[in-house]
Symmetry: C2
Subunit: 348 residues, 2 copies
Amino acid sequence: MGGDHGPPVVVGGVKDYLKRHDGAGVCFLLHGDEAALRDELARAGLPEGVCEIRHTDKIVAMDEKPAQAMRRGKGSSLWNAIEAVKAGEAAAVVSAGNTGALMAISKLILRMSAHGLERPAIVASWPTMRGVTAVLDVGANIESDAEQLVEFAIMGEAFHQAVHGVERPTIGLLNVGSEDMKGHEEVREAARILREGGFGLDYRGFVEGDDIARGTVDVVVTDGFTGNIALKTAEGVARFISALMRDALTSGLLAKAGALLALPALRRMRQKIDPAAVNGGPLLGLNGIVVKSHGGADARGFGNAIRIAVELARSDYLTKVGDNLKRLTAVLDQPAAPGDGAAMETSK
Amino acid sequence: MGGDHGPPVVVGGVKDYLKRHDGAGVCFLLHGDEAALRDELARAGLPEGVCEIRHTDKIVAMDEKPAQAMRRGKGSSLWNAIEAVKAGEAAAVVSAGNTGALMAISKLILRMSAHGLERPAIVASWPTMRGVTAVLDVGANIESDAEQLVEFAIMGEAFHQAVHGVERPTIGLLNVGSEDMKGHEEVREAARILREGGFGLDYRGFVEGDDIARGTVDVVVTDGFTGNIALKTAEGVARFISALMRDALTSGLLAKAGALLALPALRRMRQKIDPAAVNGGPLLGLNGIVVKSHGGADARGFGNAIRIAVELARSDYLTKVGDNLKRLTAVLDQPAAPGDGAAMETSK
């Protein structure tokens, strides 16, 4: 029921997913208003047995505060969808609904698997010169200490492997320079743990802001404050340049004629930075798979969020993350080597 | 002598500045190798008396560490140029040299005027849908407390007024959401001081990453870590989209023909995001005007950095910032109102 468009985009997304991807063995539990969902299913002409409706007439509104949604959300479509994961009925949940509520209720029902995380980390799939880079956290954890940054690295690596099919993803820590002495204490301490922790990650050191679009590494790790601002800044710049380009190519007869000739090439270019092709941000760090679709996504975008959820569910993502987080706890429990004391104490 | 190109770009920049802008009464002291500078001046054919050469054969290398540059930099072209400002011989210094050294030596010679600043803040002029937005700090101060963020707001406002000619610039604090409760303690405390401090600033509240390119406010205030990452991320995205566009418009005969027709419009578009037109980042918070040109800038870019320095020197920028910083100190020295104690203590 969530998102700006509700059932049409959710059911349309299921249809799109089945058309474009390998949906063998995938079934959908649709939580929400039975009549509305039944109408949409009839319109979509989906094969029998692929979708099952779980009726509820309670919904969490898009503008509801997380605390309120937690108090009065029980029995809502959002709540029931997450409950189904907890109960083992569903392997993953996909929602275009209220992000704060999805996060709070997921945490309440599924609980965090990562020990230091206050709330799930959100990962963004970022189109780059070399494909797609995973950037996390992009908005959930405002202040992240060294341990959390390492957790993001572990979860981001497993995510990228499962969803983008890269055998051994490379990892970088976002910083203001590539030298060891740069940046604040948390990021330098995280670098030390990643170098010495023996997690088997392909850690490549610090990367800078322009390395994201360059695709220097597969996974870029940062705190939720910086990550959210970097992501939104990038979206703003992309929109600004698109607007300039549109203006330029409609600014006169010659320009319009030129644009017409170049149209197929410009369309192919657009596909490379198509938001629908990268829609779907998993909430990492939970005991279960939860994928957030953009509220304004269309059916194709929602279909891509489903694809991400299915690929995570089919992979050994949860086991792998669990094992690596255990290894992190072991590393952190070790007594610090002489001389490390000061660094450990000053890291928050 | 600094930058990737040395004297040709510096002298070329002087020439470009005099050609494009009102250089009435502006004279230049060129610090560096007399022979090299004399050659360039002859080649440029600049009018007599506009430039005076101050010879030194000592230079600070582009890759020298700031601490080393401070120890052995005395008598170098960089050092002498800053000394000339301190001595009142020059109204401002412009350099394309080693950023860290420029910052360290400026601080040593000119000293900070802002009380809480550890080093100068760098301001970036960012092209937006509505003109130019000033973003600061973009790289010098890794961790910024509430007081420093307010200092950035005060300095950014005076800078924008002096250089971009906006009577009463609007100011926003960069955050992950626009609600009062969002973000970390430092940014919320800075918001409170800006709202209640009575500095006469047109403070508009929190802005998000995508508000920068949208031009929602004239001055965007953030800590140096986030600001540096936002700026470099944006540069990366802009380069990525430009590369995609170039690829698209050279991908076949039709596309090439289209690009040719649209060329004048595309060129006009390029001007709007031309790095040379926004080159020149002042180091704010010093008792004197210091402007950093990009090391790779061309003559036109260096000319723009000169323009920024001249406009700051012609304005009452330094007085205005000084007055407002005094007002800030007065506000911070006031005993906190009941109930504010906890917030003041937790802010670093």
